[in-house]
Amino acid sequence: MQQLNPSEISDIIKGRIDNLNVTSEAQNEGTIVSVSDGIIRIHGLADVMYGEMIEFDGGVYGMALNLERDSVGAVVLGDYQSLAEGQKARCTGRVLEVPVGPELEGRVVDALGNPIDGKGPINAAATDAIEKVAPGVIARKSVDQPVQIGLKAVDSMVPIGRGQRELIIGDRQIGKTAIAVDAIINQKGSGIKCIYVAVGQKASSVAAVVRKLEEHGAMEHTIVVAATASDPAAMQFLAPFAGCSMGEYYRDRGQDALIIYDDLTKQAWAYRQISLLLKRPPGREAYPGDVFYLHSRLLERAARVNAEYVEKFTEGKVKGQTGSLTALPVIETQAGDVSAFVPTNVISITDGQIFLEADMFNAGVRPAMNAGISVSRVGGAAQTKIIKKLSGGIRNALAQYRELAAFSQFASDLDDATKAQLDHGERVTELMKQKQYSPLSVAEMGVVIFAAEKGYLQDVEVSKIGDFEGALLSYMKAEHGDLIDQINESGDYNDDIAASFKAALDKFVATQTW
C-alpha cells in the first residue's frame, strides 16, 4: 500500500480547499510562439513588466527579460520540456522573489530558494525581490570593523572589513574556494552569517563544500545557494542575486553577513548564453554590453549601512546598529590572464583582490597568495589593532625577499645584510603557509607574527618553521590562555602585551630546542 503523507489528512485538505481564494481577476495572457534552449518567445502579454514572473501551463514559471514590440522574450526557470508552441502564458504581476530570513540558515537551496537538501520545506516568514537597488550614498557608512578570515596571509596583508568587496582571483584548482570556505568556518561564533553561492560548479564540489562546512560546525550560520552546472542557465544567472537578497536581509536589520559568489565567471557565461539566445548583440568575448552592469549592480549591494538606515528600515525596532554585507566574489582566470574582460571588470568594481598564483601553489606556498599584487583598498581601516601594529613588516619582508631572491640567484657571495634579509624573507614565506580548515584566532596570529617580527625565527631551520609554529601555539594556549583570551576579546596591542609576548616567547625558546 502507498504511504499517506501527513498533508493528506482530510481536515487539512478540507481547510486548504476552504482557504483557496479564487477570484476571477482580469489576467494578461499570451501565446508561446517559440521554445528554444530555455528561451521562450511569447506573442501577446501586452502588460508584462520587465523581470516579471510569467506562468506557463503545468506550473512552470519564467522571467520576462526582453520586451519587444510584438513579442516578449522570457527565460524558463526550471524544466522546459513540457512547454510547446501554442500554449498559453500568463502574467502574474509579481517580480521574482526568494524566501529570506533565519529559517534558511543551515540549508541548501536552489536559485529560487527551494530546499534541495532533503530536510523538508523551509517555512520562511519573509520573501524579498531578487533585483533591488543598492543603498544610496546617504545610507552608507565607511568600513571600520574587521571580518577575520583566519588566514595569516590574508588577515595580515589584505585585511577585509565588514561591507567590503574583496575579489579572490586565480586559475582553476589553486585554492580559491579553499579561502572562501576557511572564511566561512572562521565566522563560527562571530555572529556573521554566511551565504555561499555556488554557480555552475559540479554538484559533487558543492556537496563536498557542504560536507566540510558541516564537519567544522559552520553550516549552522550558513546558507548555501547552489545552481550547479546542470541547472538551466537562467538559474545560474539568478543565483548570485538570490543569495544577495538573502544576505541583505541581515544587512538591513543591523546584522553582519558575508557572501561568497563562487564564481562570477560562470555567472557571466550563463548570462552570455541567455543574452545570445535572446539575440542581444554580442560585444567583446561575445559578452553582452551590460555584463559590467551585471556584476557592478550585484556587488554594489554589498555595503555597510549606517544606523539611521537600519532604524528606518526596521521602523525603529533596531536602533544604533550598523549593518553590513561583505562580499567575496571569486573569479577564475585562464592561465593567470587578469586582462580578460570579466576579470578586469570585477577587479575594477571590487575594493581589492586576493591574487592566487599557480607557481606559488606548485611551490607549496598555500594559500598561494601573491603578496605583491594582492591589495585591500579599504580593509586597513578595519584591521584589528594588534595585527595592524605587528604585520607592517610582513609585507615589506616578502616584497624585499622576492626582489632579492631573483637577484641573488646570479650572485655568488652576498653581504651579511642581504643574507639576513633573504633568510628572514624565506622564513616569513614559510610562516605564511597555513593548512586548510585550520583558521587562527587574532591572538594566535598575533603571537606568530610577533615571533617573526622580533627575530625568534632566525635560529629555526626553514623546514621546521611549521612545527615551531604549532608548538608555539599549543604552548601559548596551555601556559598563557588568559592572555590569548584577553587579546581575542579586545584586539588591543600595547606595551604590556608586547612585554608578555616577549616573556612568553623567551621562555618557550629557552625550554625547547629548535
Binding site: R16, I17, A26, N28, E29
Partner: protein, 178 residues
C-alpha cells in the same frame, strides 16, 4: 508570428492613415479583408510564395481575383506590396487594420466562452459590465463549451477573465499539489 506582424505594421499603419484621411475606413477594411482571404487561398498562396512568379504577375493575380471590388487606391496598395514582395503579409495587415479601426471606434471584440447558453438579458448585462470596465464599445461573440462545467471565460485581446469552474478546479489542483 511575431516577425510577420513586425513587417506588416508599417503597411497597415500607412493604409489606415490613408483610409482615415480619405474617410473610407469601412471601405478599406472590407477591401483588405477580401484581399487577405484571397491571399489565403491555397492556389494564391502557392503563387505568392513562388520565386519564379514576378512581382507584377503576383499583383495582377490578386487584383484580378478581387475584381472590381477594390478601389484604385487599394489596387495601388497591392502593387506596392508586390513590388516589395510582401503580398503574403495581407492577412496580418488586414488583422492589424481591424485593430486600429477598433481603436479608432473605441470598440473591442470580446469572445465569451460559456458553459451554458446565455440568454439575451445575460448577454446585455455582460456587455454593459464589460464596456464599463474596458471603457470601450463591446462586440460580444458568444460561444459554448460544455467542458468549462460552469461559468464563463471572457477574452478581450490579451486580457482574460477566467470565471469558469474548470479554471477554478485547475487552480485548486495546483494549490493542493504545491
Amino acid at each position: 508570428m511575431a516577425e510577420l506582424s513586425t513587417l506588416a505594421r508599417p503597411y497597415a499603419k500607412a493604409a489606415f492613415e490613408y483610409a482615415v484621411e480619405a474617410k473610407d475606413v469601412q471601405g478599406w477594411s472590407d477591401s483588405l479583408s477580401l484581399a487577405a482571404s484571397v491571399a489565403q487561398q491555397p492556389a494564391v498562396e502557392k503563387l505568392l510564395s513562388s520565386p519564379s512568379a514576378t512581382a507584377a504577375k503576383q499583383a495582377e493575380a490578386v487584383q484580378n481575383i478581387c475584381g472590381d471590388e477594390l478601389a484604385t487606391a487599394c489596387q495601388n496598395f497591392i502593387s506596392i506590396l508586390s513590388e516589395n514582395r510582401r503580398l503574403q503579409l495581407l492577412p496580418q495587415i488586414s488583422q492589424q487594420f481591424e485593430i486600429m479601426k477598433a481603436n479608432l471606434e473605441k470598440a473591442v471584440d470580446v469572445d465569451v466562452v460559456a458553459a451554458s447558453k446565455l440568454d439575451a438579458a445575460q448577454q446585455k448585462a455582460l456587455s454593459e459590465a464589460l464596456s464599463a470596465k474596458l471603457e470601450r464599445k463591446v462586440n460580444l461573440q458568444v460561444s459554448l463549451d460544455k467542458s468549462l462545467l460552469g461559468g464563463a471565460v471572457i477574452r478581450a485581446g490579451d486580457t482574460v477573465i477566467d470565471g469558469s469552474i474548470r479554471g477554478r478546479l485547475t487552480k485548486l489542483a495546483e494549490s493542493l499539489n504545491s
